[in-house]
């Protein structure tokens, strides 16, 4: 008799219970800032991340609920990181939300927790359907979060776009999964990979399903050419919610990519790597060129995300070369490192926007940043560190992210892949242009706005730590690199 494996789902169970309890507690909270709900939410998420972190550090792979879910180092670390990212998001977002009447109820916190629960389930899923359920829980919560400002026209429009395109993407994904189910007769990742590698199934059917799965994943990841929703939603959504979509969610999306493509469909790597390659190239081009023309900072960060996702895809696509998966661990750990550090940098960048935004003033135009170096040295310093890091300049962590991806590409030794590395490098130069333009606006332009009132202490402390981490991990990247490499090795090696 197989054990039920409750332990594999401790973080999820905790989050679910806490979300329900906090929703009830919130009925009694009348304070505008919802301090009680806020503290309880942070405590709950913190506890869930801690459990995930402890499991990640100590356990090998465990399966639970009749193989429906898995607890492995990669998933647990990603859960831990996305929990932390969600906490940071809520710290940055609370004053912003309170100023905008978004905390008349505790929806931001409870929906945030449900979104996080969705991410956790996605990350833990060992079954196509479980992953899909997690994804739907995440996206449904996100739709509601984007529309949280009921009286705001652009937010409502963004929510609409997000909903329509997101539903389509989910449809793609589900369709692809059903094709695979039809072909392999199972939704269990372990069964699917066995069936696929047996070679008994007609290749066309598999590839047909794969195309839909990759398209759905690309939608969720925001990679070109399925990126259309990204700029509009990033710009239209309330910034605190943008950060939920652009921050923690990306880690779960990465987990989903790994589960579906690598763990479930590795024998088809040749096929999906080609798709990823094309998407990576288009993402780099679209993201970097379109970003140059932006005057809205949130929109610029959206295009920047698209180009950064291109880099992640480059890392993922260099895993299997000519049927040889010996460099897979190298490639996937570099992609994971890239994603984790990208989320870290994104948190700080949006954190600065959230800190600068005041009641009735969004502070999302690039020109709003003018003279920030004098108006708020902390915000300007953190944002410049982030921009230089996104541009891939040492000694910031973004450099090592790019280095490891380029290394994974060049290790393959294929001229095409080395060419792609050079291409990515040249496009990063174009990217550097708009990143350093932000630094220029902050330090070289004269301030147009008055000196800022100090932000709440929790925001300032978290922002300073977040910015410092981008620098410190740049100086000493070894620990995080090792963590990612270990996680991937222990997960895939099993």
């Amino acid at each position: 008799m197989e054990s039920f494996g409750w332990a594999t789902l401790y973080p999820e169970i905790l989050l679910l219970v806490a979300a329900c309890v906090i929703a009830l507690v919130d009925l009694r909270v009348t304070h505008k800032h919802r301090t009680l709900t806020y503290v309880l939410t942070l405590l709950a998420i913190g506890a869930a991340s801690l459990i995930a972190g402890v499991q990640a550090a100590s356990t090998e792979t465990h399966y639970g609920f009749s193989n429906m879910v898995v607890s492995d180092p990669m998933g647990n670390w990603l859960k831990c990181f996305s929990g932390i990212a969600m906490m940071v998001t809520l710290v940055y977002g609370r004053p912003y939300a309170a100023d905008r009447e978004m905390t008349r109820g505790g929806e931001l916190f409870t929906l945030g927790m449900f979104a996080l629960l969705g991410m956790f389930v996605m990350t833990s899923g060992n079954n196509f359907l479980v992953i899909y359920l997690g994804l739907e829980l995440l996206t449904l919560s996100s739709y509601a979060l984007v529309a949280l400002r009921r009286d705001d026209g652009t937010a409502t429009e963004a929510a609409m776009k997000y909903f329509v395109l997101g539903a389509m993407a989910s449809g793609f994904l589900l369709y692809g999964m059903s094709m695979l189910y039809g072909a392999t007769g199972s939704l269990d990742i372990g069964q699917v990979i066995k069936a696929v590698s047996s070679g008994q199934i007609r290749h066309q059917v598999l590839v047909f399903g794969l195309v839909f799965i990759v398209a759905g994943l690309a939608f969720k990841l925001g990679a070109a050419p399925f990126h259309m929703w990204v700029p509009d939603v990033y710009q239209g959504a309330p910034t605190a919610v943008t950060l939920i979509i652009g921050g923690a969610t990306k880690l779960a999306a990465f987990a989903m990519l790994m589960r579906l493509l690598v763990e479930g469909l590795l024998p088809l790597a040749f096929d999906w790597q080609q798709m990823l390659a094309v998407m990576a190239v288009i993402s780099l081009v679209v993201g970097n060129f379109a970003a140059i023309a932006q005057s809205n900072f949130k929109r610029l960060l959206a295009y920047s995300t698209i180009s950064q996702m291109g880099f992640v895809l480059l890392g993922l696509m260099s895993g299997v070369i000519g049927g040889n998966a010996s460099s897979a661990y190298n490639a996937y750990s570099s992609a994971m490192f890239y994603m984790v550090t990208y989320v870290l940098t994104t948190l700080a960048s949006f954190g600065v926007i959230l800190m600068l935004a005041k009641e009735g003033f969004e502070s999302e135009e690039i020109s709003d940043l003018a003279g920030l170096g004098q108006r708020s040295p902390l915000a300007a310093a953190v944002l410049s560190v982030c921009m230089f890091s996104l541009a891939g300049l040492p000694p910031l962590v973004g450099f090592y992210a790019k280095l490891s991806v380029l290394q994974a590409l060049i290790t393959t030794g294929l001229p095409l892949y080395i060419g792609l590395a050079v291409f990515a490098v040249v496009l990063s130069l174009i990217g550097a242009f708009y990143y350093i333009r932000i630094v220029k606006v902050m330090y070289f332009d004269a301030p147009k706005l008055p000196v800022l009132a100090a932000a709440p202490a929790d925001v300032r402390v978290v922002l300073a730590v977040n910015g410092a981490l981008v620098l410190v991990l740049g100086l000493l990247p070894s620990a995080l690199m090792k963590l990612c490499a270990d996680a991937i090795l222990r997960t895939l090696g099993s």
């Binding site: 170096g373 004098q374 230089f388 300049l393 040492p394 000694p395 450099f399 090592y400 280095l403 490891s404 380029l406 290394q407 060049i410 290790t411 030794g413 080395i418 590395a421 050079v422 490098v425 040249v426 990063s428 130069l429 550097a432 242009f433 350093i436 333009r437 630094v439 220029k440 330090y443 070289f444 000493l476 990247p477 070894s478 690199m481 090792k482 490499a485």
Partner: protein, 491 residues
């Protein structure tokens, strides 16, 4: 912690301190802090100078620690005869720049001092890195403070100049990164530069690597035809920025040739030497002519820097000991002389707020002490024997004549051209009757300016009159490098 680590991290620590402590209104505190920091940073480089053993090509003051285990990257420092002098030189120029900024910079002093101190540490890091990625990290990181220095304290067109500087140099170095990763993989997973020196490579690989490195180093030197960013940047940069840029930053590129291009891809270096020599000669002759028609003093000195750096690359690529040592001596000498030239222009600019040669005339009448210093530096700039400028140029010309008479002849024209534009500028700015009422109101340099001028003058004369300590240090390393480059690494 070894001396090299101290030399790198002392200025960075003081720079960070001045960034954190400084606020508007505490300018004096920051100034003294920066002065103390730069002086201490200079003092900790002295053990490197006096403890350096000549007569060996081995790396000295070596420090090696694991840094990024996953990629086998080490925190690996050391200096040999090729790089040793740049460590104290960088620290010395930083002291000068801090003193020069004392009363001149009044806006955001803590950021100014912080940026220069951090920049100083980073540049010393470049010169003492023995690990490819460590080198790259320091090399790239220098862009950030320099970008801010130009953009915040620069002239009216500073933003254009800052972007041009940043993007030009970044493009070059990104291609270098690809080459570094390629070498890492080709050497079986090592970023150790010394390992790369022994690595056999095919001609195709060598050529690609050579040009990838060339992209970074030629832009940084800068060699003709990628020199166009330099005059723009110099014109807009603040005085201290120009001085550091010309005195140290340009040397990062030339140093890269010695540490990477020549020993890692020797066959490609030989094969393409004609190209580099041609570029160098064009830099010496053509850019020298361009310098002659400049109306702006800073532009003139900037073009003169390109021409002088042409000597350096010429010396490297004719592959004999005199040329290579001459190139390195020229790098050091140019460090003193160009810094002095830019600081002299800064002295005038602070008073008159113009860099146009035509805005001056007869400065010697009002500033006799300053004009005397300026004359010395002008003479050094055109390579008068007895000054630092002479030694390197003479060695390179001699080597070039040995290599090929016509190349020697062409390079020797630099002496004439250099004398022409420098002396002509000197005449128009300093000599003759007082030109206008601005010059009429000039007052001579004070103690602070006298101090920096005197320090640079002593260095210039000492190196010109007694260059032996400089050449002795590099001798063994140059011989070793030449022997290494002479052996084919083709497999």
């Amino acid at each position: 912690m070894g001396w090299l680590s101290l030399a790198i991290w002392t200025p960075i620590a003081f720079g960070a301190l001045s960034l954190l402590l400084g606020r508007q209104g505490q300018q004096n505190l920051v100034r003294w802090l920066a002065l103390a920091g730069s002086l201490i940073a200079f003092l900790v480089t002295l053990p490197v100078v006096f403890g350096f053993r000549t007569g060996t090509a081995a790396m000295q003051f070596v420090e090696r620690h694991d840094w990024v285990e996953r990629f086998n990257i080490h925190y690996h420092l050391g200096v040999d005869g090729l790089s040793m002098w740049f460590v104290p030189l960088t620290a010395f120029i930083t002291v000068i720049v801090v003193i020069a900024a004392w009363e001149v910079i009044t806006d955001r002093v803590h950021q100014y001092m912080g940026a220069f101190l951090i920049l100083s540490g980073l540049m010393i890091g470049v010169f003492s890195s023995l690990d490819g990625i460590l080198f790259y990290v320091f090399f790239e990181a220098t862009l950030i403070p320099m970008y801010l220095i130009i953009g915040i304290w620069g002239g009216p067109n500073k933003i254009y100049a800052a972007f041009k500087f940043f993007l030009y140099t970044l493009l070059g170095s990104l291609l270098t990164l690809v080459a570094l990763i390629y070498l890492y993989i080709a050497s079986g997973g090592s970023f150790d530069i010394a390992t790369w020196h022994k690595l056999p490579l095919s001609m195709t690989a060598q050529t690609l690597i050579f040009f990838a490195f060339l992209a970074a180093f030629a832009v940084k030197v800068p060699m003709w035809p990628v020199h166009t960013w330099l005059p723009d940047v110099h014109v807009e940069a603040p005085t201290g920025g120009s001085a550091v840029l010309a005195a140290i930053m340009l040397k990062l590129g030339a140093y890269g040739f010695l540490r990477f291009s020549l020993p890692i891809a020797p066959d490609a270096a030989h094969k393409w030497a004609w190209l580099l020599i041609t570029f160098s000669i064009i830099a010496v002759v053509y850019v020298g002519l361009v310098a002659m028609v400049q109306k702006d003093m800073k532009k003139l000195v900037a073009y003169s820097s390109v021409a002088h750096m042409g000597f350096v690359t010429l010396g490297f690529f004719i592959f004999n000991d005199l040329g290579m040592a001459g190139g390195i001596v020229q790098m050091i000498a140019h460090g003193f002389v160009s810094a002095a030239m830019f600081l002299s222009i800064g002295v005038l600019y602070d008073r008159v707020h113009s860099r146009d040669i035509s805005a001056y005339g007869g400065v010697v009448n009002k500033m006799p002490r300053f004009a005397a210093f300026a004359l010395l530096f002008a003479m050094a700039n055109c390579g008068l024997p007895g000054t630092a400028g002479f030694v390197g140029e003479w060695m390179v010309i001699l080597a070039a004549v040995k290599f090929n008479f016509w190349i020697g002849l062409l390079s020797a024209t630099a002496l004439i051209l250099g004398a022409a534009y420098t002396l002509w500028m000197y005449k128009r700015v300093y000599l003759g009757p007082v030109g206008n009422h601005h010059v009429e109101e000039l007052s001579d340099i004070g103690a602070r300016e006298f101090l920096i001028m005197a320090l640079l003058a002593i260095a210039t004369l000492y190196m010109g009159l007694y260059p032996k300590p400089f050449t002795d240090v590099m001798d063994a390393s140059v011989q070793n490098l030449l022997q290494h480059v002479a052996q084919s690494k083709l497999r």
